[in-house]
């Protein structure tokens, strides 16, 4: 099946097997390995990317379903060498421990602020319910998202 889509601002086309998952298309076909596979069961959120501006678990979407879509992965967030404000906030507030959940966490957080640019702490925690940090490092992650919101990051 031929698909054409935009990934991190660049038009990409490929012939893919119908059953190929979007996350495997990104990682293996395009070599964008920043998006991690965690649980593979739509639970952990490590594979979160943006599809048409909204957070989506790329392990639960077929590549063929992304035909025509605008996909942004963690690699597409920074502006050259300049980190996206959410990435910068995660660094400043040390919003990570082992780092495995971080790409998905950052993508989910950016999507969250697009829908609610001034969230309370409770709203941040609820808004990130689809992302699990096995290190349980939620405290600094929430701090980072609140700080990014204060700086107007979206």
């Amino acid at each position: 099946m031929d698909i054409v889509l935009t990934v991190n601002g660049e038009e990409r086309s490929a012939a893919v097997e119908s059953r190929l998952l979007l996350v495997h298309f990104l990682r293996e076909t395009l070599g964008l390995t920043g998006t991690n596979v965690g649980c593979d069961t739509s639970s952990c959120g490590a594979c979160t990317v943006h599809v048409d501006g909204e957070s989506v678990k790329s392990c639960t979407m077929l590549a063929v379903q992304a035909h025509g879509a605008d996909i942004v992965t963690i690699e597409g967030l920074a502006d050259g060498e300049r980190l996206h404000p959410m990435q910068a906030a995660f660094r400043t507030h040390h919003g990570l421990q082992c780092g495995y959940c971080t790409p998905g966490m950052v993508m989910a957080a950016v999507s969250l602020l697009r829908e609610n640019d001034d969230p309370t702490e409770a709203e941040v925690r609820e808004g990130l319910e689809g992302n699990l940090c096995r290190c349980t490092g939620y405290h600094n992650i929430v701090d980072a998202v609140l700080a990014a919101a204060k700086e107007g990051a979206t």
Binding site: S18, R19, S42, G45, E54, S55, T60, M61, L62, S111
Partner: protein, 276 residues
């Protein structure tokens, strides 16, 4: 986890979807947001020969005020339900239940029609539609028919839909000003409900849908009857488990679920009948 191989067909109209279903018979499964079907495919609990992707059928994504009822296109996403002003005014129970589905990522993709057509008794929306007295509009080769929510869920993951039919719209009677409550009990934020309760109360009675209390979503008919006969909330809630047949699993035993059902129905009735 990789799904078994399948043929993939993308359609962008209802007619094209029906034609694809007619061509492939029961080999075909419809794919909407994919958040019920893809997990089954990945676990190889489902291995359809053909997936008909109705995701691009934009005409089935709407929330419309039709006077006495709110009409919702089957491809309307949970995200659109949980943010709808129309639902806030006329079917707030459905809006609240949609907000409890999965997590934000799931709600960005999953659709009301996909959830309902999947017919999972552990899902939040099917039981909610029972409480709301919703009607399903179904289109097939012979035209359209309407099925009451009470007649729609016929078995575990089994609905009144034939393999050649498509659920196109869910119609919810307006409940402007009615009391309501959605109670969901689970151990982790994004989990399915161990037990859930959707309740809508009017001055004349209450309708209550139960999540995960049997092989299909169920109504708490014993409690509804008791409320209608003037019973107190504790007395009405004490019979909430009557007619249910919950399973025992890692989430809890059947006995625990029956207990939880009575507790949550009591809370739901208390909240739904509290003065605004």
């Amino acid at each position: 986890m990789i799904p078994a191989a399948f043929e993939y067909e993308r359609v962008d109209t209802v007619d094209a979807a029906l034609a694809a279903l007619a061509a492939h018979g029961d080999e075909a499964k419809l794919l909407a947001g994919g958040h019920s079907l893809l997990p089954l495919l990945k676990l190889r609990l489902a291995e359809p020969g053909v997936l008909v992707d109705i995701g691009p059928v934009r005409a089935l994504s709407y929330i419309r005020d039709d006077g006495d009822a709110i009409s919702i296109g089957s491809l309307t996403r949970h995200r659109d339900l949980e943010t709808s002003d129309t639902l806030a005014a006329h079917a707030p129970l459905l809006r609240a239940a949609a907000h409890q589905v999965g997590d934000p990522q799931v709600r960005h993709r999953g659709t009301i029609g996909g959830s309902v057509a999947h017919g999972d008794p552990a899902s939040d929306l099917p039981a909610t539609l029972l409480a709301l007295g919703a009607t399903m509009l179904v289109r097939g080769p012979a035209g359209e028919r309407r099925v009451d929510a009470d007649d729609f869920f016929v078995g575990f993951l089994e609905t009144a839909l034939s393999p050649d039919e498509l659920l196109v719209e869910i119609s919810v009677p307006k409940a402007t000003g009615a009391g309501w409550s959605f109670q969901k009990f689970n151990r982790r934020a994004q989990d399915w409900a161990i037990v859930g309760v959707a309740c809508q109360a009017t001055p004349t009675g209450a309708r209550i849908g139960l999540v995960n209390m049997g092989s299909t979503p169920l109504r708490a008919r014993g409690t509804e009857h008791a409320v209608g006969s003037g019973a107190t909330i504790p007395d009405a809630a004490a019979v909430a488990h009557e007619g249910t047949a919950p399973t025992s699993d890692l989430g809890g035993s059947a006995e625990y679920r029956e207990h939880l059902c009575r507790v949550l129905v009591r809370r739901a009735l208390t909240q739904a009948t509290a003065p605004a």
